[in-house]
Amino acid sequence: MSEKLFSYTALFNTPDEIIHAAKAVADKGYTKFDVNTPYPVHGMDSAMKLKTSKLGFVTLFAGLGGAALALLTMGWMMGIDYPNVIGGKPFFPLPAFIPITFELTVLVATLSTVAFLLFFFFKLPNNRHPLHDTNYMKNVSSDKYGVSIEAEDPKFNLEEVKSLFESLHASVIEPVYFDEEEVNYKPKIADGKFLAFLAAVAIFVSVSAYTHLNYLLYIVPFNWMAEQGKLVPQSTNDIFTNGSSMQTPVEGSVARGFIPYAFKDKPDEAGKFLVNPLIPNEQNLAVGKNKFNIYCSPCHGYLAEGDSRLRGQFPNPPSLHSEKVRGWSDGRIYHVIVEGQNVMPSYSSQLSREERWAVVNYIRVLQRSLNAKESDL
């Protein structure tokens, strides 16, 4: 413990005495002194010869900064980054920007003023100041008025200060000491308690993030309405006698866009009478290629050679380059797509009529490319 003198203090009972004392101390030329009062005493600033506060400038510039920030951000977002006409307003609707500009001006100005006041002007928080926990501080924070002249003042002289206070009729005069170690104490990062605190924070954050992402998001009501109080096709239902939500359509009802197929189970007639409505062109061949690769190629192979990619899980189909298929009319191939053939299922629900004809055209292209005529070469 190295106790050093911080300051000499004097307590007074009335506001008049303290104003008088502050004037006297300031007149003597002391600069490192302070007056501590439970509330601001009128006229003390001039008695202490304090300069006017510069805090107003902080407010001014922060406020202007806030206004500029608001206008520029809104202008950029609504006019440049994602221009959007809203209510017929221009891309920079100044009147509509005024409310938020005002709010941000106030917000930035007040927060900066207060932050500067506390952290920059006052250098708070500071609970290690020598005056804390002294008899002096206990009195000035309640009902006494005090002056404290610091030992670091260039004019400080113990005897002079003492006699000055005595001549001012101070009620209490006492020195304030401080412990250098305590005042100059710097917190270390490698402190056990601090590290334990960090670990606790880390564990808390990880656990809560984990439960949030893995559990919380999957329970009602946080699960993006995954469960809804509505009827889904397979659910039960009290309204209908058969207890099912999905009802079979009334007999004879026809699905929208449905056209009956005239050649059901009549492949030969289909081959004879069905006419391909599409003249092959770049567009419908592209459609045909796309649909063929999606729906047919898993079994028939990309080039229709019957080289299935199903590795024997389904009977391999014959090549579509056979004499037989090459000899078929477009309508006959179309019929296979509509009805399927033996183990091959129907593709009428996956492919629209146009798409089926486009696939037929594409098969023709594949066939022609493997068995090109003399004239093609």
Binding site: N36, T37, L50, Y82, V106, T110, S141, D143
Partner: protein
């Protein structure tokens, strides 16, 4: 305390209490164990809060279909409650900031409390628009402009978004203002407590304040600056809230009188609420000579004044509707007074315009029972004002085929009750955890606390 002479009535603080006695009196609720009255009060407010919590949980689990909101009336109770509570908050800022700028010393006794009520009212209010979004945990995504995958920004031209900025700024600034005021008091509490834990808490919250005059100088300037900002801010908040309505084209909403009319109404209801609560506080904690009868009387005068402003606005709305010659406007107002919701309109009109007229009589202004009942009715009336504005206009819009009658549900009621529960729970906890009167400010206005030959 026996030595204080209460017979001599002074304008701000009655008697001439010694400063140390003020410390004692104001910090007494913090040092003493709460008594049975406190627990009863807390039980009541917590019950109300629980009712609200149940309603809220149900609303979130089953969805907002539990509310009475229907197709034309999409706003219903949540927005009515929002506007009501924001309005309650306004009195606090008015007392702490505007009266400060006007150098009204009588504000010192009630400023801290009123500011606290502002903060609690704004917290209560903020809940409603957020739960009105249906999934409040996603609200930040809808409300704040932040860089996102969709590269979408919020709509800065919408009054609803202005509200987001206005209300959050209002909350932040009120909170900072309140905290700045509390710092010296925390320091005083820190220096008088003998409890170790309290000492640590107060040391942290006081930030190591030293009552230094070099600090007081900047502190007072900051207080002035904050008051200077809070004043236009509080006016802007209810103005922007009124834009939510006024910028829409609905008959009965699309009027230019809304901003001043809303601000007056907010101050009106806020003062009524502050007055109600103060009546209890001064009685329970023996603050009769700090929150004096004169102070209450002044508040009643402000209630009278703002009540008449509101009454003027009601009449002017009718006049303009007729004078404009716009049929839907005329219809909207006739419908308000004589349509399906006539009962709501006349509750509003009598509570807000007729009943406060009793404050013309000095006897009424200075009688606790009378002023209490009147202020309660004022708040009933002001809640119905928001109901009338929101619901009558929406339920009878331009398109008669979509008209519908709005009927609140039990869930709506539980949320309203819960909001009162939340507000009063916060108020109660506040009275036991923080000095409800600004110690430093009151000391500064006690007689003899300023130098006689000061150069002011």
């Amino acid at each position: 305390m026996g030595s204080i002479d209460y017979t001599q009535e002074l304008s701000v603080v009655e008697g001439k209490p010694a400063l140390r006695e003020l410390d004692e009196l104001i910090s007494k609720p913090l040092d003493s164990k709460p008594d049975i009255k406190f627990y009863i009060a807390l039980a009541v407010t917590l019950t109300m809060l629980t009712i609200g919590a149940i309603g809220l949980t149900a609303s979130l689990y089953y969805g907002t279909g539990l509310w009475g909101n229907n197709n034309p009336v999409g706003w219903g109770f949540p927005i009515v409650n929002f506007v009501f509570w924001i309005g309650i908050g306004h009195a606090g800022t008015l007392i702490s900031a505007i009266l400060f700028l006007f150098r009204q010393k009588w504000r010192t006794g009630i400023a801290r409390f009123a500011e606290g009520m502002t903060i609690f009212a704004v917290i209560t209010a903020m809940i409603f628009p957020i739960i009105h979004t249906g999934r409040p945990w996603l609200a930040a995504i809808y409300l704040l402009p932040y860089p996102n995958q969709h590269s979408l920004w919020v709509n800065f031209t919408s009054p609803l978004l202005w509200d987001v900025f206005a209300v959050s700024t209002y909350f932040t600034v009120s909170f900072v203002f309140w905290y700045i005021g509390l710092i010296p008091d925390f320091a005083t509490l820190r220096d008088r407590t003998s409890n170790k834990i309290k000492k640590i808490i107060y040391s942290v919250t006081s930030l190591g304040w030293r009552h230094s005059n070099r600090h007081w100088q900047n502190y007072e300037l900051t207080y002035l600056i904050l008051a200077g900002f809070a004043t236009p801010l509080v006016l802007s908040v209810h103005t922007i809230v009124s834009f939510d309505f006024a910028v829409a084209i609905l008959p009965g909403w699309h009027t230019t009188i809304f901003p001043p009319y809303f601000v007056a109404g907010a101050v009106f209801s806020g003062f009524a609420m502050v007055q109600n609560v103060l009546i209890f506080i001064r009685k329970i904690f023996n603050y009769e000579h700090i929150i004096t009868m004169d102070t209450l009387e002044r508040m009643n005068k402000i209630i009278l004044l703002t009540g008449m402003l509101v009454g003027y606005a009601y009449s002017m709305e009718f006049f303009i509707a007729w004078y404009s010659g716009v049929q839907p406007e005329v219809f909207a107002f006739m419908n308000r007074a004589f349509g399906d919701y006539f009962w709501a309109y006349w509750i509003m009109f009598s509570c807000n315009v007729f009943i406060p007229q009793l404050f013309w009589f000095k006897k009424v202004r200075r009688s606790i029972p009378f002023m209490f009942v009147i202020a309660v009715l004022v708040n009933v009336g002001m809640w119905f004002e928001r109901f009338v504005i929101t619901v009558t206009s929406l339920s009878r819009d331009y398109l008669p085929s979509s008209w519908a009658y709005f009927k609140p549900t039990l869930t709506d009621a539980s949320l309203l009750i819960g909001s009162f529960g939340l507000f009063f729970t916060l108020v109660l906890l506040f009275t036991k955890s923080l000095p409800v009167i600004s110690i430093a400010e009151v000391k500064a206005v006690v007689d003899g606390s300023q130098p006689k030959h000061g150069d002011h």
